[in-house]
Protein backbone atom coordinates (compact mmCIF):
# COMPACT_ATOMS: atom_id res chain seq x y z
CA UNK A 1 0.00 0.00 0.00
CA UNK A 2 1.40 3.37 -1.03
CA UNK A 3 1.05 6.50 1.10
CA UNK A 4 -0.96 8.22 -1.64
CA UNK A 5 -2.68 6.36 -4.44
CA UNK A 6 -4.58 7.92 -7.30
CA UNK A 7 -6.28 5.28 -9.39
CA UNK A 8 -7.88 6.19 -12.72
CA UNK A 9 -8.83 9.66 -11.49
CA UNK A 10 -10.96 11.81 -13.80
CA UNK A 11 -12.18 15.34 -13.19
CA UNK A 12 -14.35 17.73 -15.19
CA UNK A 13 -15.31 21.36 -14.68
CA UNK A 14 -18.10 23.53 -16.06
CA UNK A 15 -21.82 22.98 -16.33
CA UNK A 16 -22.18 23.37 -20.07
CA UNK A 17 -18.89 22.49 -21.74
CA UNK A 18 -17.84 20.01 -19.05
CA UNK A 19 -14.14 20.59 -19.73
CA UNK A 20 -12.11 17.50 -18.87
CA UNK A 21 -9.24 18.50 -16.60
CA UNK A 22 -7.92 15.10 -15.51
CA UNK A 23 -8.16 11.90 -17.55
CA UNK A 24 -7.58 8.50 -16.02
CA UNK A 25 -4.72 9.68 -13.82
CA UNK A 26 -2.93 7.01 -11.79
CA UNK A 27 -0.11 7.83 -9.43
CA UNK A 28 1.45 6.30 -6.33
CA UNK A 29 3.58 8.31 -3.91
CA UNK A 30 5.67 6.68 -1.20
CA UNK A 31 7.05 8.04 2.06
CA UNK A 32 10.39 9.78 1.66
CA UNK A 33 10.19 10.50 -2.06
CA UNK A 34 9.84 13.72 -3.98
CA UNK A 35 7.46 13.57 -6.93
CA UNK A 36 7.30 16.63 -9.17
CA UNK A 37 4.79 17.04 -11.98
CA UNK A 38 5.69 19.41 -14.78
CA UNK A 39 2.86 20.90 -16.78
CA UNK A 40 2.02 23.91 -18.88
CA UNK A 41 -0.67 26.33 -17.70
CA UNK A 42 -4.15 24.80 -17.74
CA UNK A 43 -2.71 21.31 -17.93
CA UNK A 44 -4.65 20.32 -14.81
CA UNK A 45 -1.68 20.27 -12.43
CA UNK A 46 -3.31 22.32 -9.64
CA UNK A 47 -6.51 20.26 -9.89
CA UNK A 48 -4.44 17.11 -9.56
CA UNK A 49 -2.93 18.41 -6.31
CA UNK A 50 -6.32 19.42 -4.91
CA UNK A 51 -7.69 15.94 -5.63
CA UNK A 52 -4.58 14.37 -4.06
CA UNK A 53 -5.12 16.55 -0.96
CA UNK A 54 -8.77 15.57 -0.71
CA UNK A 55 -9.88 19.17 -1.24
CA UNK A 56 -11.73 18.16 -4.40
CA UNK A 57 -13.34 14.83 -5.09
CA UNK A 58 -12.71 13.08 -8.41
CA UNK A 59 -15.62 12.49 -10.81
CA UNK A 60 -14.25 9.03 -11.53
CA UNK A 61 -11.56 6.82 -10.04
CA UNK A 62 -10.31 6.95 -6.47
CA UNK A 63 -7.84 8.93 -4.38
CA UNK A 64 -6.58 7.10 -1.29
CA UNK A 65 -4.30 8.30 1.51
CA UNK A 66 -2.86 5.57 3.73
CA UNK A 67 -5.41 3.23 2.20
CA UNK A 68 -8.43 5.40 3.06
CA UNK A 69 -10.62 6.79 0.29
CA UNK A 70 -10.37 10.58 0.48
CA UNK A 71 -13.92 10.88 -0.85
CA UNK A 72 -15.25 9.46 2.40
CA UNK A 73 -14.06 12.47 4.42
CA UNK A 74 -13.36 15.35 1.98
CA UNK A 75 -10.74 17.69 3.43
CA UNK A 76 -10.60 15.83 6.73
CA UNK A 77 -7.04 14.61 6.24
CA UNK A 78 -5.74 18.15 5.69
CA UNK A 79 -3.70 18.90 8.77
CA UNK A 80 -3.98 15.25 9.82
CA UNK A 81 -1.43 13.60 7.60
CA UNK A 82 -1.60 15.82 4.54
CA UNK A 83 -0.11 19.30 4.46
CA UNK A 84 -1.23 21.45 1.55
CA UNK A 85 0.69 24.59 0.58
CA UNK A 86 -0.96 27.16 -1.60
CA UNK A 87 1.11 28.97 -4.19
CA UNK A 88 1.12 32.08 -2.02
CA UNK A 89 1.21 32.40 1.74
CA UNK A 90 -2.36 33.60 2.31
CA UNK A 91 -1.96 35.57 5.48
CA UNK A 92 -3.88 37.85 7.79
CA UNK A 93 -2.25 41.18 7.20
CA UNK A 94 -0.43 42.67 10.14
CA UNK A 95 0.03 39.53 12.24
CA UNK A 96 3.60 38.34 12.76
CA UNK A 97 4.48 35.02 11.19
CA UNK A 98 4.87 33.21 14.50
CA UNK A 99 1.42 34.34 15.68
CA UNK A 100 -0.20 33.15 12.46
CA UNK A 101 1.32 29.69 12.72
CA UNK A 102 0.51 29.51 16.44
CA UNK A 103 -3.11 30.56 16.02
CA UNK A 104 -3.63 27.88 13.35
CA UNK A 105 -2.64 25.25 15.89
CA UNK A 106 -4.68 26.78 18.71
CA UNK A 107 -7.72 26.66 16.43
CA UNK A 108 -7.19 22.90 16.28
CA UNK A 109 -7.15 22.63 20.06
CA UNK A 110 -3.41 22.63 20.68
CA UNK A 111 -2.48 24.36 24.01
CA UNK A 112 -0.85 27.79 23.63
CA UNK A 113 2.64 26.90 24.88
CA UNK A 114 2.81 23.75 22.75
CA UNK A 115 1.46 25.63 19.74
CA UNK A 116 4.01 28.40 20.14
CA UNK A 117 6.88 25.92 20.46
CA UNK A 118 5.78 23.91 17.42
CA UNK A 119 5.40 27.08 15.35
CA UNK A 120 8.90 28.22 16.32
CA UNK A 121 10.38 24.82 15.50
CA UNK A 122 8.71 24.79 12.10
CA UNK A 123 10.07 28.23 11.23
CA UNK A 124 13.53 27.11 12.34
CA UNK A 125 13.22 23.94 10.28
CA UNK A 126 12.62 25.91 7.08
CA UNK A 127 15.45 28.29 8.01
CA UNK A 128 13.40 31.44 8.58
CA UNK A 129 13.40 31.36 12.37
CA UNK A 130 14.87 34.88 12.39
CA UNK A 131 11.77 36.15 10.56
CA UNK A 132 9.32 34.92 13.21
CA UNK A 133 8.33 38.46 14.21
CA UNK A 134 8.06 39.72 10.62
CA UNK A 135 4.74 40.35 8.96
CA UNK A 136 4.05 38.19 5.87
CA UNK A 137 4.07 41.21 3.55
CA UNK A 138 7.70 41.79 4.57
CA UNK A 139 8.82 38.42 3.18
CA UNK A 140 10.26 37.94 -0.29
CA UNK A 141 9.09 35.13 -2.59
CA UNK A 142 11.43 32.46 -1.26
CA UNK A 143 10.74 33.32 2.36
CA UNK A 144 6.97 33.30 1.72
CA UNK A 145 7.19 29.77 0.29
CA UNK A 146 9.23 28.67 3.28
CA UNK A 147 6.61 30.23 5.57
CA UNK A 148 3.88 28.29 3.77
CA UNK A 149 5.86 25.08 4.20
CA UNK A 150 6.45 25.92 7.87
CA UNK A 151 2.71 26.35 8.41
CA UNK A 152 2.10 22.90 6.89
CA UNK A 153 4.90 21.39 8.99
CA UNK A 154 3.30 22.54 12.26
CA UNK A 155 0.86 19.65 11.74
CA UNK A 156 3.67 17.11 11.15
CA UNK A 157 2.34 15.94 7.77
CA UNK A 158 3.35 12.63 6.26
CA UNK A 159 2.54 13.99 2.80
CA UNK A 160 3.37 17.56 1.81
CA UNK A 161 1.56 18.84 -1.27
CA UNK A 162 2.84 22.06 -2.75
CA UNK A 163 1.70 23.92 -5.84
CA UNK A 164 4.53 25.50 -7.83
CA UNK A 165 6.95 26.10 -4.95
CA UNK A 166 9.40 28.13 -7.03
CA UNK A 167 7.16 30.24 -9.24
CA UNK A 168 7.53 33.54 -7.37
CA UNK A 169 10.98 32.79 -6.04
CA UNK A 170 14.11 34.61 -7.15
CA UNK A 171 16.22 32.44 -9.47
CA UNK A 172 19.11 32.29 -7.03
CA UNK A 173 16.86 31.18 -4.16
CA UNK A 174 14.98 28.46 -6.06
CA UNK A 175 17.51 25.72 -5.50
CA UNK A 176 17.42 26.46 -1.78
CA UNK A 177 13.65 25.85 -1.70
CA UNK A 178 14.09 22.62 -3.69
CA UNK A 179 16.89 21.50 -1.37
CA UNK A 180 14.54 22.11 1.58
CA UNK A 181 11.87 19.87 0.02
CA UNK A 182 14.42 17.13 -0.60
CA UNK A 183 15.69 17.38 2.97
CA UNK A 184 12.12 16.94 4.24
CA UNK A 185 11.84 13.82 2.09
CA UNK A 186 15.03 12.50 3.65
CA UNK A 187 13.27 12.79 6.99
CA UNK A 188 10.48 10.56 5.65
CA UNK A 189 7.92 13.11 4.44
CA UNK A 190 6.55 12.44 0.96
CA UNK A 191 6.53 15.54 -1.22
CA UNK A 192 4.19 15.99 -4.18
CA UNK A 193 4.72 19.21 -6.12
CA UNK A 194 3.87 20.76 -9.45
CA UNK A 195 6.02 23.02 -11.55
CA UNK A 196 6.24 24.84 -14.83
CA UNK A 197 10.04 24.88 -14.73
CA UNK A 198 12.20 21.92 -15.67
CA UNK A 199 14.87 22.86 -13.13
CA UNK A 200 12.50 21.95 -10.30
CA UNK A 201 12.53 18.32 -11.45
CA UNK A 202 16.13 17.75 -10.30
CA UNK A 203 16.54 14.76 -8.05
CA UNK A 204 12.83 14.00 -8.14
CA UNK A 205 10.62 11.39 -9.76
CA UNK A 206 9.52 13.53 -12.64
CA UNK A 207 6.26 13.32 -14.56
CA UNK A 208 4.42 15.57 -16.99
CA UNK A 209 0.76 16.43 -17.20
CA UNK A 210 -0.55 17.24 -20.66
CA UNK A 211 -4.22 18.00 -21.33
CA UNK A 212 -5.11 16.16 -18.14
CA UNK A 213 -3.09 13.04 -18.98
CA UNK A 214 -0.17 12.05 -16.80
CA UNK A 215 3.02 10.84 -18.49
CA UNK A 216 6.01 9.31 -16.77
CA UNK A 217 6.58 6.65 -14.11
CA UNK A 218 3.31 6.44 -12.09
CA UNK A 219 5.05 4.56 -9.26
CA UNK A 220 8.52 4.48 -7.76
CA UNK A 221 10.70 1.82 -9.35
CA UNK A 222 11.79 -0.61 -6.72
CA UNK A 223 15.11 -2.41 -6.89
CA UNK A 224 14.91 -5.89 -8.31
CA UNK A 225 14.61 -8.55 -5.61
CA UNK A 226 17.55 -10.95 -5.81
CA UNK A 227 17.22 -14.28 -4.04
CA UNK A 228 20.09 -14.89 -1.61
CA UNK A 229 19.52 -18.63 -1.71
CA UNK A 230 18.91 -20.67 -4.84
CA UNK A 231 15.22 -21.44 -5.14
CA UNK A 232 13.55 -24.64 -6.26
Amino acid sequence: MSLLELDGVGKRYGRLDRRTVLRDVSLAVESGEVVVIWGARRSGRSTLLRVAAGIETPDSGTARFEGRDLRARPGATLGEGIGYCHRAFAAREGSPLLDQLTSGLIARGVPLTTASRRASESLERVEIGAWARCRPEELDGGEAVRAAIARALTHSPRLLIIDEPTIDVDVLARDGVLALLHSLAQEGVAVLATTGESTSLSGARALTLSEGELHGPPARELAEVVALMPTG
Partner: protein, 186 residues
Protein backbone atom coordinates in the same frame (compact mmCIF):
# COMPACT_ATOMS: atom_id res chain seq x y z
CA UNK B 1 39.54 14.45 -36.35
CA UNK B 2 36.08 12.93 -35.83
CA UNK B 3 36.52 10.85 -32.68
CA UNK B 4 34.72 12.32 -29.67
CA UNK B 5 37.12 10.34 -27.44
CA UNK B 6 40.14 12.11 -28.98
CA UNK B 7 38.63 15.54 -28.40
CA UNK B 8 37.59 14.67 -24.87
CA UNK B 9 41.11 13.44 -24.14
CA UNK B 10 42.59 16.63 -25.55
CA UNK B 11 40.29 18.54 -23.19
CA UNK B 12 41.72 16.67 -20.20
CA UNK B 13 45.29 17.45 -21.28
CA UNK B 14 44.34 21.13 -21.64
CA UNK B 15 42.78 21.05 -18.18
CA UNK B 16 46.02 19.70 -16.70
CA UNK B 17 49.21 18.16 -18.19
CA UNK B 18 49.21 14.51 -17.33
CA UNK B 19 50.62 11.06 -18.17
CA UNK B 20 48.86 8.13 -19.82
CA UNK B 21 47.58 6.09 -16.87
CA UNK B 22 46.39 9.16 -14.97
CA UNK B 23 44.62 10.42 -18.09
CA UNK B 24 42.81 7.10 -18.46
CA UNK B 25 41.61 7.37 -14.85
CA UNK B 26 40.53 11.00 -15.26
CA UNK B 27 38.77 10.10 -18.50
CA UNK B 28 36.62 7.52 -16.73
CA UNK B 29 35.81 9.90 -13.87
CA UNK B 30 35.09 12.94 -16.03
CA UNK B 31 33.09 11.37 -18.84
CA UNK B 32 31.31 8.57 -17.02
CA UNK B 33 27.98 7.91 -18.72
CA UNK B 34 28.93 10.16 -21.65
CA UNK B 35 31.94 8.54 -23.34
CA UNK B 36 33.52 5.14 -22.98
CA UNK B 37 37.06 3.89 -23.61
CA UNK B 38 37.41 0.56 -25.38
CA UNK B 39 40.26 -0.12 -22.93
CA UNK B 40 42.87 1.73 -20.84
CA UNK B 41 45.55 1.06 -23.48
CA UNK B 42 43.51 2.96 -26.07
CA UNK B 43 44.61 6.16 -24.30
CA UNK B 44 48.16 5.67 -25.64
CA UNK B 45 46.89 5.19 -29.21
CA UNK B 46 44.77 8.32 -28.90
CA UNK B 47 47.64 10.34 -27.37
CA UNK B 48 49.87 9.28 -30.25
CA UNK B 49 47.25 10.51 -32.73
CA UNK B 50 47.00 13.86 -30.92
CA UNK B 51 50.80 14.16 -30.87
CA UNK B 52 51.13 13.37 -34.61
CA UNK B 53 48.60 16.14 -35.32
CA UNK B 54 50.59 18.61 -33.23
CA UNK B 55 47.79 19.05 -30.70
CA UNK B 56 49.79 17.74 -27.72
CA UNK B 57 53.50 17.44 -27.00
CA UNK B 58 55.47 15.15 -24.76
CA UNK B 59 57.00 16.16 -21.41
CA UNK B 60 59.68 13.67 -20.40
CA UNK B 61 60.24 12.88 -16.73
CA UNK B 62 56.79 13.64 -15.34
CA UNK B 63 55.74 12.07 -12.05
CA UNK B 64 58.06 11.07 -9.20
CA UNK B 65 61.87 10.95 -9.47
CA UNK B 66 61.91 7.19 -8.85
CA UNK B 67 59.30 6.48 -11.49
CA UNK B 68 59.47 9.20 -14.14
CA UNK B 69 56.71 8.98 -16.71
CA UNK B 70 56.14 10.38 -20.15
CA UNK B 71 53.68 13.23 -19.76
CA UNK B 72 51.66 15.25 -22.24
CA UNK B 73 50.63 18.90 -22.45
CA UNK B 74 48.53 20.74 -25.01
CA UNK B 75 50.13 22.88 -27.71
CA UNK B 76 48.74 26.32 -28.59
CA UNK B 77 47.30 24.76 -31.73
CA UNK B 78 45.64 22.05 -29.64
CA UNK B 79 43.93 24.64 -27.42
CA UNK B 80 42.72 26.64 -30.44
CA UNK B 81 41.40 23.55 -32.25
CA UNK B 82 39.64 22.39 -29.09
CA UNK B 83 37.85 25.74 -28.80
CA UNK B 84 36.75 25.53 -32.44
CA UNK B 85 35.57 21.97 -31.91
CA UNK B 86 33.32 23.05 -29.00
CA UNK B 87 31.68 25.70 -31.18
CA UNK B 88 31.18 23.25 -34.06
CA UNK B 89 29.78 20.62 -31.68
CA UNK B 90 27.20 23.09 -30.37
CA UNK B 91 26.01 23.76 -33.92
CA UNK B 92 25.88 20.03 -34.57
CA UNK B 93 23.59 19.62 -31.56
CA UNK B 94 21.21 22.24 -32.99
CA UNK B 95 21.26 20.49 -36.36
CA UNK B 96 20.43 17.15 -34.73
CA UNK B 97 17.43 18.66 -32.94
CA UNK B 98 16.09 20.05 -36.19
CA UNK B 99 16.70 16.75 -37.94
CA UNK B 100 14.79 14.87 -35.23
CA UNK B 101 11.79 17.20 -35.58
CA UNK B 102 11.88 16.87 -39.37
CA UNK B 103 12.09 13.08 -39.23
CA UNK B 104 9.21 12.93 -36.76
CA UNK B 105 7.04 15.01 -39.10
CA UNK B 106 7.40 12.25 -41.70
CA UNK B 107 5.08 10.19 -39.49
CA UNK B 108 2.15 12.60 -40.01
CA UNK B 109 0.30 9.81 -41.79
CA UNK B 110 0.92 7.45 -38.85
CA UNK B 111 0.24 9.66 -35.82
CA UNK B 112 0.03 6.73 -33.39
CA UNK B 113 3.58 5.73 -34.29
CA UNK B 114 4.73 9.31 -33.82
CA UNK B 115 3.00 9.48 -30.42
CA UNK B 116 4.94 6.39 -29.32
CA UNK B 117 8.19 8.10 -30.32
CA UNK B 118 7.15 11.28 -28.49
CA UNK B 119 6.27 9.23 -25.41
CA UNK B 120 9.74 7.68 -25.37
CA UNK B 121 11.37 11.05 -25.99
CA UNK B 122 9.33 12.64 -23.20
CA UNK B 123 10.29 9.81 -20.86
CA UNK B 124 13.98 10.31 -21.68
CA UNK B 125 13.61 14.05 -21.02
CA UNK B 126 12.00 13.38 -17.63
CA UNK B 127 14.77 10.99 -16.65
CA UNK B 128 17.40 13.50 -17.76
CA UNK B 129 15.71 16.29 -15.77
CA UNK B 130 15.14 14.15 -12.69
CA UNK B 131 18.64 12.67 -12.65
CA UNK B 132 20.32 16.08 -12.71
CA UNK B 133 21.48 16.92 -9.21
CA UNK B 134 20.82 20.12 -7.37
CA UNK B 135 24.06 22.11 -7.20
CA UNK B 136 25.52 22.38 -3.74
CA UNK B 137 25.26 26.09 -2.97
CA UNK B 138 27.69 25.88 -0.04
CA UNK B 139 30.36 24.35 -2.29
CA UNK B 140 30.07 27.26 -4.71
CA UNK B 141 30.50 29.76 -1.91
CA UNK B 142 33.56 27.94 -0.58
CA UNK B 143 35.47 27.66 -3.85
CA UNK B 144 34.09 28.70 -7.22
CA UNK B 145 36.66 26.62 -9.14
CA UNK B 146 35.96 23.35 -7.39
CA UNK B 147 33.20 21.21 -8.86
CA UNK B 148 32.77 23.60 -11.79
CA UNK B 149 32.40 20.77 -14.33
CA UNK B 150 29.73 19.04 -12.24
CA UNK B 151 27.80 22.29 -11.81
CA UNK B 152 27.95 23.15 -15.50
CA UNK B 153 26.85 19.64 -16.51
CA UNK B 154 24.06 19.64 -13.93
CA UNK B 155 22.71 23.05 -14.96
CA UNK B 156 22.93 22.17 -18.65
CA UNK B 157 20.82 19.06 -18.02
CA UNK B 158 18.30 21.00 -15.96
CA UNK B 159 17.92 24.02 -18.22
CA UNK B 160 17.95 22.12 -21.52
CA UNK B 161 14.62 20.60 -20.51
CA UNK B 162 13.10 24.08 -20.15
CA UNK B 163 12.61 24.01 -23.92
CA UNK B 164 12.26 20.30 -24.54
CA UNK B 165 9.39 19.53 -22.17
CA UNK B 166 7.10 22.21 -23.70
CA UNK B 167 8.17 20.95 -27.15
CA UNK B 168 7.13 17.39 -26.24
CA UNK B 169 3.83 18.80 -24.99
CA UNK B 170 3.35 20.71 -28.24
CA UNK B 171 4.29 17.76 -30.50
CA UNK B 172 1.97 15.48 -28.55
CA UNK B 173 -0.95 17.88 -29.15
CA UNK B 174 -0.18 18.12 -32.88
CA UNK B 175 -0.10 14.37 -33.39
CA UNK B 176 -3.10 13.76 -31.14
CA UNK B 177 -5.08 16.17 -33.31
CA UNK B 178 -3.92 14.27 -36.40
CA UNK B 179 -4.92 10.98 -34.79
CA UNK B 180 -8.35 12.41 -33.92
CA UNK B 181 -8.81 13.62 -37.50
CA UNK B 182 -8.16 10.11 -38.77
CA UNK B 183 -10.91 8.76 -36.54
CA UNK B 184 -13.46 11.24 -37.94
CA UNK B 185 -15.76 9.68 -40.57
CA UNK B 186 -14.93 11.06 -44.03
Amino acid sequence: MQSAVHWALLGLVIERPSYGYELAQRFEQSYEGMLELSGFSYIYTALDTLRCRGLVEEIPGMGSERQPKLGYRATAEGVRDYQQRLIAQMREDFRRSRLFARQLAVLAGEPELALDVIESYGQACLEEAGDALLPDVEDVCADRGSGLAERLVSQERRLAMEARLPWVDYARREFKALAADRLQPQ
